[in-house]
């Protein structure tokens, strides 16, 4: 008989640390009894802080935590029917395995013979029969991991919290433990809340995934939802490998991105700026003339079951997983089934493009040297006398190993009839009236589309130059 109520609810949880750092902002979540929920996100996204608030180690600055409908926000950790498996296990080194596992039971003043029975049973559950008298230091990482789990579940908590419990194990062991944890979850029927930065782990194990970034929830959904229907570019980028492009709707079920016009299934109004996501395994390689777009293969990596092929199409790069091999330098066509193009309405239309690093460590775009330098972009870096670039720690930076992305907002670009004055040249391929200004898409000669806001009306197909002031650009480094 399954109870359908929520076991735990987090309402508008905000955590601000003493130094003013917002670890978690307005976090809302409902967890059903028996669910396996995973908090997924890069380090520093607030997932561990949220877990610590559920455990009671941290108190939220704002908001409420309800357990079975009752507030436990101010309850100390020892008063909560919740147990934690810690990241580095946190086993007591001065106790043997039996005493470690029995710690919580002894705390509850349970009779000795019952404790002995329970410890024996839980050791069987984690496959460590007969380990009662071993010392912690004599156990391998995987065994310590199991003891940590046993120590938590022996208390029969209502919720089991797991803070990156498999982080310290090697790959093979991690895969095994994933399956075992999943099986244990089924067997015990306890609600699991799991924290990880490993998207594959989250997809394998969870009933529900909470994707977090910078203290905020990005998306909550089943693994399938998160993978197939990412809500925004962050989720798409974080879950699995993705090709992400800025684009625009050019007609009914037609989207233009990556230098081509694709048919899609998302009905978005014409003229809307979009972010298009294409999974590498969904791109089909064709003969050059048969593809929606074409490009030149730049790299091929054999990955065991498939090849990972990078194709440059104009200024865009498409990563493809294919069972067919290709050679660098091949001209190929690419097409994508309409079902496999995921269209998201772009919240902001900032133009992002890659700039090149020339020999003097200055930045170049479309053959023009920009009035800025690498040393300004990479904090603390400087050039040595013999022309080497070193970072703040004094390590050499190889310009070939980093990519510099420039971003400029549509209202900061100006169009001009004198094409030579512009940083890039192209023609207006799309325009829409936005109430107080027009939004244009310029398809440039070098294959990159730019979104430009302008108060004046220009004509379709007009040849223009784009003036982009360097001081309006923001640069970021990708390694």
């Amino acid at each position: 008989m399954e109870q359908r109520e929520n076991i735990i609810e987090l309402k508008h949880i905000t955590k601000t640390f003493e130094d003013g750092f917002h670890a978690v902002e307005d976090f809302n979540l409902e967890v059903k009894r028996g669910e396996f929920v995973t908090f997924l996100g890069p380090s520093g996204c607030g997932k561990t802080t949220t877990l610590r608030m559920i455990a009671g180690f941290d108190v939220p600055t704002e908001g409420e935590i309800l357990l079975n409908g009752k507030s436990i926000t101010d309850l100390p950790p020892n008063k909560r029917p919740i147990n934690t498996v810690f990241q580095r296990y946190a086993l007591f080194p001065h106790m043997n395995i039996f005493d470690n596992i029995a710690f919580g039971l002894k705390q509850k003043k349970i009779p000795k013979d019952v404790i002995e029975k329970k410890v024996k049973k839980v050791l069987e559950l984690v496959d460590l029969e007969g380990f009662e008298n071993r010392r912690v230091s004599t156990l391998s990482g995987g065994q310590q991991q199991r003891v940590a789990i046993a120590r938590a579940v022996v208390n029969e908590p209502e919720i089991l919290l797991l803070d990156e419990p498999l982080g310290a194990l090697d790959l093979k062991m991690r895969k095994e433990m994933q399956l075992e944890l999943k099986a244990m979850h089924k067997e015990l029927g306890i609600t699991f809340i799991y924290v990880t930065h490993d998207q594959e782990e989250a997809l394998t194990m969870s009933d529900k995934i909470v994707v977090m970034s910078e203290g905020r929830t990005q998306q909550i959904g089943t693994p399938e939802d998160i993978y197939n229907e990412p809500k925004n570019a962050f989720v798409a980028d974080f879950i699995g490998d993705s090709n992400i492009f800025n684009g625009i709707m050019t007609g009914h079920l037609k989207a233009r991105f990556c230098g081509g016009e694709f048919v899609c299934v998302d009905d978005v109004e014409e003229g809307t700026h979009i972010t298009a996501v294409v999974r590498p395994e969904d791109v089909v390689l064709t003969a050059p003339e048969e593809g929606t777009i074409k490009g030149v293969v730049t790299s091929v990596i054999f990955k065991g079951i498939h090849y990972e092929i990078a194709v440059a199409s104009g200024k865009n790069e498409m990563v493809i997983q294919s069972v067919k091999a290709a050679k660098p330098g091949d001209l190929v066509g690419m097409k994508v089934d309409p079902d496999n193009i995921h269209i998201m309405i772009a919240e902001d239309h900032t133009n992002i493009f890659e700039v090149e690093i020339n020999r003097n460590h200055r930045l170049e775009y479309n053959g023009t040297v920009l009035d800025t330098s690498l040393t300004k972009i990479i904090r603390g870096s400087r050039r040595t006398e013999n022309g080497m670039l070193i970072d703040a720690a004094g390590e050499e930076i190889d310009p070939k190993k980093i990519r510099i992305m420039a971003a400029i907002r549509p209202e900061d670009i100006r169009m001009t009839d004198h094409q030579d004055e512009g940083l890039v040249q192209g023609y207006i391929s799309n325009l829409i009236y936005k109430g107080d200004h027009y939004s244009y898409v310029i398809h440039t000669d070098i294959g990159q589309d730019f979104v430009v806001d302008d108060e004046d009306l220009w004509n379709m197909e007009d040849q223009v130059g784009l003036i982009m002031p360097v001081d309006k650009m923001t640069f970021s480094v990708r390694r």
Partner: protein, 264 residues
């Protein structure tokens, strides 16, 4: 290959030389003197003498009493201090730790002389309270040696162990008693070793406090001053035996907790 192992071995030569010259040889000399009489003949007389002479035995027990009291007082003062220091979130923590270590850098005789003046002011005549003064002087001198190892073990204690204890149902006091205290045992043992043994022998403190009582160190000093090398050596050897015994007894605790930050 042979060349490498040769050069590696030769790196140990200075150390071996030092060891033989300054540790093994003096020890052998000590043993020789302890078991011979003034004429160089082998004898147990020194050993038997020590344990049959009520004066020397009395000194041994008095020394143990002074050292044990000093150690206990040091421990009672040092543990809370070290704990508060290690747990405080003060930015100036290292500065505060320094202030406790600073006295070690000030000349020893200066410190004790200052203490003597203060005690004289309070007690009038130092001779009235020899035992108390001995303990006060020793505590003042050795307290930093107790604080530092305890502080080191507590500061290195993994915070998540305490959280685990809280998570498993222990309140703050229980978590301290079941986790922090047992895990700081190596620091305590280390501190005791650094206070107890010196407190048995450092008679200079007593001398400087015009103390008329005798501890083991005074005894050795007395024998040597009277050119009785044999008697003095035997007492030194007995002290050495006590140290060895102590180390053996505490080694168990150390091994259980090799991850602790003991200072010895």
């Amino acid at each position: 290959m042979g060349k490498i192992s040769f050069s590696r071995k030769s790196l140990g030569i200075p150390y071996t030389l030092f060891l033989v010259l300054f540790v093994v040889a003096p020890l052998l000399v000590l043993i020789y003197y302890a078991f011979t009489n003034g004429q160089g003949q082998f004898t147990f007389a020194n050993l038997v003498g020590f344990f049959t002479n009520p004066n020397t035995l009395g000194t041994l027990f008095y020394s143990v009493a002074v050292a044990a009291t000093t150690t206990a007082v040091c421990l009672l003062l040092a543990y809370p201090t070290a704990y508060i220091l290690a747990k405080s979130k003060l930015k100036a923590k290292s500065v505060i730790v320094m202030t406790f270590i600073m006295p070690m850098w000030i000349n020893f005789s200066l410190r004790i002389t200052a203490l003597k003046e203060i005690l004289t002011l309070i007690e009038g005549n130092l001779a009235y309270y020899p035992f108390l003064n001995a303990v006060i002087g020793m505590t003042y001198d050795f307290l930093p040696f107790m604080i530092l190892p305890i502080y080191n073990t507590i500061v290195k204690l993994d915070e998540s162990l305490l959280e685990a204890a809280r998570d498993l149902g222990a309140n703050e006091t229980e978590a301290f008693l079941k986790v922090t205290l047992p895990l700081s045992v190596p620091g305590i043992v280390s501190g005791i070793a650094m206070v107890f043994l010196p407190a048995m022998t450092n008679y200079v403190v007593l001398d400087m406090l015009y103390n008329s009582t005798y501890i083991m160190g005074s005894l050795i000093g007395g024998y040597f001053a009277a050119y009785n090398w044999n008697g003095g050596s035997m007492i030194a050897l007995i002290l050495l035996a006590i140290i060895c015994l102590f180390t053996l007894l505490t080694r168990g605790a150390e091994e259980e907790n090799s991850r602790g930050g003991a200072l010895l």
